[in-house]
């Protein structure tokens, strides 16, 4: 990575804040494990966004203070959480009816790769992994009204994660609508990836050089 890119690349928190800024009041939102979980911290308390956790919480609140942990209240990542005023509990079949029935406005997931047709690979770490943990990823990717992905633009060794065709096992076909990376915000449209925003000091051509599929502006 060049110094210009390294210096201005968005941090995990900045990526999460970007996503949060784009979520309007009133949306029901499911946040995946990792950077997506951080998004909740950047939604202002005055904006009523209802966070869903697939283990049966609607209206999930922030982590509790250490001395106020409820051992019965965890999220899908098995972290202790709180329930906001107005929140509710439901069992797994109802929770996934919210997801699979198209009631969730937005799901934000991490990914290994996203293809220019919107295919997402985010569950199996290699084609040889015979016991990968899928959890709710396939239900969420297909069922939510919108799917946004948050991930690093490239792998640690510099290989693109935005590609023409995913190499990792697929989670869902043509499901991704938008991607927030540490370098750019991109939408997935009929013709492929469209760049909406690039970090300061990085040109479109430099972004293209780090991407495994053709970008348009």
């Amino acid at each position: 990575m060049s110094d210009a890119v390294k210096n201005s690349a968005w941090s995990r928190a900045e990526m999460a804040a970007k996503v949060a800024a784009a979520i309007p009041e009133g949306w029901y939102v499911n946040l995946g494990i990792g950077i997506p979980t951080l998004v909740a911290d950047f939604v202002p308390a005055t904006r009523e966004v209802v966070i869903h956790s697939e283990n049966g919480l609607l209206g999930m609140g922030p982590a509790p203070a250490k001395d106020a942990i409820d051992p019965w209240l965890i999220n899908a990542g098995k972290q202790h959480v709180t329930l906001r005023t107005g929140g509710s509990y439901m069992h797994h079949a109802d929770s996934f009816a919210m997801i699979r029935g198209g009631h969730i406005d937005l799901c934000v997931l991490g990914a290994f790769e996203v293809a220019s047709n919107g295919d997402i690979a985010n569950w199996a770490t290699s084609v040889n992994d015979t016991a990968p943990a899928v959890g709710g990823a396939m239900d969420l990717a297909v069922g939510a009204k919108r799917l946004w992905v948050v991930m690093e633009h490239t792998t640690k060794d510099g290989r693109p994660r935005l590609v023409d065709q995913c190499q990792y096992p697929l989670t869902a076909l043509a499901a991704v609508d938008r991607i927030y990376t540490n370098l750019a915000v991109l939408d997935v449209v009929e013709s492929g990836f469209v760049v909406r925003e690039i970090i300061d000091g990085v040109s479109f051509d430099e972004l293209q050089a780090r991407t495994g599929a053709r970008l348009s502006q």
Partner: protein, 226 residues
């Protein structure tokens, strides 16, 4: 008088046969019927198919049942998680069969079993490894995978409060798979933290009506570990 309460674990486990499919509630450490799992180990049934979200953690409970060689096959959505050491060992040694199911499909297959739906089509998993070998059909312009109902010979459930009719309420995220497994089990066995007199539970808030429950045992163990 209907009284589904039993007072000892031998009675609670009575009739569970070798080869049974056992649904086990819980998500993470919350809402897991740990006392019933221990009793199942004691009971001795083997060659089991276990359906649970996770493939056990540590060396106790579900992990111990597997380590003792009682589980032939596990059906779950999240086999590989922190501390799933016993599963990892058995799976690497070829000593346990695994069926991975998307979490929502897992819940819905059990809901279908409880509701008498033999199979259903869902877009979840279309075009992925988890749809390989399954019928795919276009419905309303969307490709869908045919998934079949998932019945349990036995369901092991944990709840917060139960009455003698087997009406159940749960506590926050301890609800998880428990109500849907109660529906899908032919023999549903419940461990409850608290006991209510009949009529004490508000009919408006009962989550699992007693029709889905066969036996209840009072196990006031306290809170899940932090």
């Amino acid at each position: 008088m209907i009284d589904k309460f039993v007072t000892n674990m031998a009675d609670a486990m009575s009739g569970i046969a070798d080869g049974a499919t056992v649904l086990v509630g819980g998500f993470g450490q919350v809402g897991q019927p740990n006392a019933l799992i221990e009793a199942l180990i004691e009971h001795g049934a083997k060659d089991l198919t276990v359906v649970a979200n996770n493939a056990g953690t540590g060396r106790a409970g579900l992990a111990r049942l597997m380590e003792l060689g009682r589980v032939r096959r596990i059906v779950c959505s999240f086999p590989r998680s922190t501390g799933s050491v016993v599963f990892e060992e058995l799976y690497a040694a070829g000593k346990i069969e695994l069926e991975i199911v998307p979490q929502g499909t897992l819940a819905e297959r059990m809901r279908a079993a409880g509701a008498g739906v033999r199979a259903f089509y869902t877009p979840t998993a279309v075009g992925t490894k988890l749809a390989e070998g399954k019928e795919v059909r276009e419905i309303g312009g969307t490709n869908c995978v045919l998934e079949t109902a998932l019945h349990g010979d036995v369901a092991l459930v944990e709840c917060w409060t139960a009455d003698r009719w087997g009406n159940l309420v749960f506590r926050s995220s301890g609800r998880n798979f428990n109500p849907v497994m109660a529906m899908a089990g032919k023999l549903t066995i419940v461990q409850t933290q608290h006991v209510a007199e009949l009529g004490e539970l508000d009919p408006e808030v009962i989550v699992t009506p007693g029709i889905f429950v066969n036996r209840v045992i009072h196990v006031p163990y306290g809170d899940p570990p932090l």
